[in-house]
Amino acid sequence: MPATTMSKAERDQSHARVFDLSQQSLRELNQALHKLTSGSNETAWEVLNPKGSHSVAVGVDQLVSIDVRGSVGYYCAGMNDGAAITVHGSAGPGVGENMMSGSIVIKGDASQYAGATGRGGLLVIEGNASSRCGISMKGIDIVVHGNIGHMSAFMAQSGNLVVLGDAGDALGDSIYEARLFVRGKVESLGADCIAKEMRPEHIELLQGLLDKAGVTGVKASEFKRYGSARKLYNFNIDNADAY
């Protein structure tokens, strides 16, 4: 096929630097990714046979695309700062932990604490996420096509968590200023987390997130918004007996 008729994705793919983790070590992969400097021509990477490996593509700080073909274990894409990482499989605990910027797409499910402490960027989980999704999130946007487990968005500080399915127990316990949008049912709300009005600016924000995450056929108006009642922000003298 002449290069001019290839889509950008196909062109990237055809030049992708391929790492086969059944032949090469994880350390070689991560070191090669860490050596990248801005302006490098190696902008497309493909990782084969991850087979549940831990820490695949952690700490990448360049604007490259990385396609991981298969399921990964703990901490995939942690601390990501700019890369577009797609896992064509499921992810173990702590995927995208402390992401700074860029995007991570999980085609399957994600285990516990997906996107924990994330400061920026977009994490999309096309399947379900289990417990503690977005725990202590600090600016990351997380979009989950399926359901999320219990204690999600615990102590979430800022950013947006969007759930197309249902949320488990104690959603948003001790939440600060993150926004939680849930389309399905919420098993229970955590301490100081309450349902809030969907104002036009929230609809607009949510629609933007759905578009960014490639979600179609779902309207922002189908979601409910949850956030902080702000009752835990200050010490209440009436609770003194509890201490």
Binding site: S90, D109, Q112, S131
Partner: protein
């Protein structure tokens, strides 16, 4: 940490490979626990024969002539097959209790790992690779089995502190986590006639299940009881003569992944443990829900 695995076969054609498959699963989780490892394998149960797995620190000394002495003591035929520090004694099912008692007087230093019609239990200090090699686990056939690689927290690194723990005929359990009310539960179980070999928290969980099943509960009901009666962190994988069960505590911070195909149900602390199973790419793979009992029976 700790790593646990379980494999319950639906397809009889895989039974000759059970030991090899379970060994592969356990070895893949070696870095979750380097202290000790163990495996319980359920072979085809026999109505005419029961098995007692025993362990000794001095096998050459303790196992020599034991079959003859034991046969004489219980008045029934006994066979003994030595595997490294362990041996499997086979005798009539109604002679198991007598054999246990006789073993204690004939060889006071021998430890009983487990007994039943189907189960054999092998556990030692060391890495999973060394433990499965030592007992030639890869060549074992069976219907289901569970395994554990240990990073010790609640009791010493010893053979008896290794998992699986068996506290009833053909029953055993592996555990990832730590229990906080095990001393209290142990005292209650002792009052109800249970006996304990160690100070280990997991042995209490195993005894709790044995005790509930002795009181007429099935495996699923006994597992359900752990959710209200045991406090702490746990993912349990449990084997019985014809069954296999999984339960996680309500907080569920100890990892767990399951896979099911027409051929098997498999459990691993991580997906890594499942990657070499046949047909895994098309298996239904899921994370077991917190506070939810899963069990399968043949």
């Amino acid at each position: 940490m700790c790593g646990i695995v379980g494999l319950f076969l639906k397809d009889k054609a895989l039974e000759p490979k059970l030991g090899a498959m379970l060994s592969e699963m356990l070895v893949s989780l070696s870095d979750r626990g380097p202290d000790s490892a163990g495996i319980a394998i359920y072979g085809a149960p026999s109505k005419n024969e029961a098995k007692i797995t025993i362990q000794s620190a001095k096998p050459e000394h303790d196992f020599r002539g034991l079959d003859i002495e034991l046969a004489k003591a219980i008045g029934a035929p006994v066979s003994l097959a030595t595997k490294s520090t362990h041996a499997v004694i086979r005798t009539a099912p109604d002679k198991v209790d007598a054999a246990r008692e006789a073993l204690q007087s004939l060889r006071p230093d021998i430890r009983i790992m487990g007994a039943g019609e189907a189960v054999e239990i092998y556990k030692e200090v060391g890495l999973p690779e060394a433990v499965v090699d030592r007992f030639d686990v890869r060549s074992m056939t069976g219907t289901h089995g569970i395994g554990h690689t240990r990073m010790a927290t609640e009791s010493a690194v010893t053979t008896m502190g290794a998992h699986p723990f068996s506290t009833g005929a053909d029953q055993c359990l592996v555990h990832n986590g730590s229990l906080s009310n095990h001393n209290n539960v142990r005292r209650e179980l002792i009052r109800d006639g249970m006996t304990f070999e160690t100070e280990n928290d997991t042995e209490v969980a195993a005894a709790y299940l044995s005790n509930r099943m002795a009181h007429g509960k099935n495996l699923g009901e006994a597992l359900e009881g752990t959710l209200s009666d045991l406090d702490g962190f746990f993912t349990f994988v449990v084997g019985t003569k014809n069954g296999f069960g999984v339960v996680r505590d309500p907080i569920a911070c100890k990892p767990a992944v399951m896979a099911e195909t027409d051929q098997y149900v498999a459990f691993g602390s991580e997906y890594r443990a499942l990657t070499k199973l046949p047909g895994i790419d098309n298996a239904r793979v899921w994370e077991p829900e917190p506070a939810t009992v899963y069990f399968w029976e043949h």
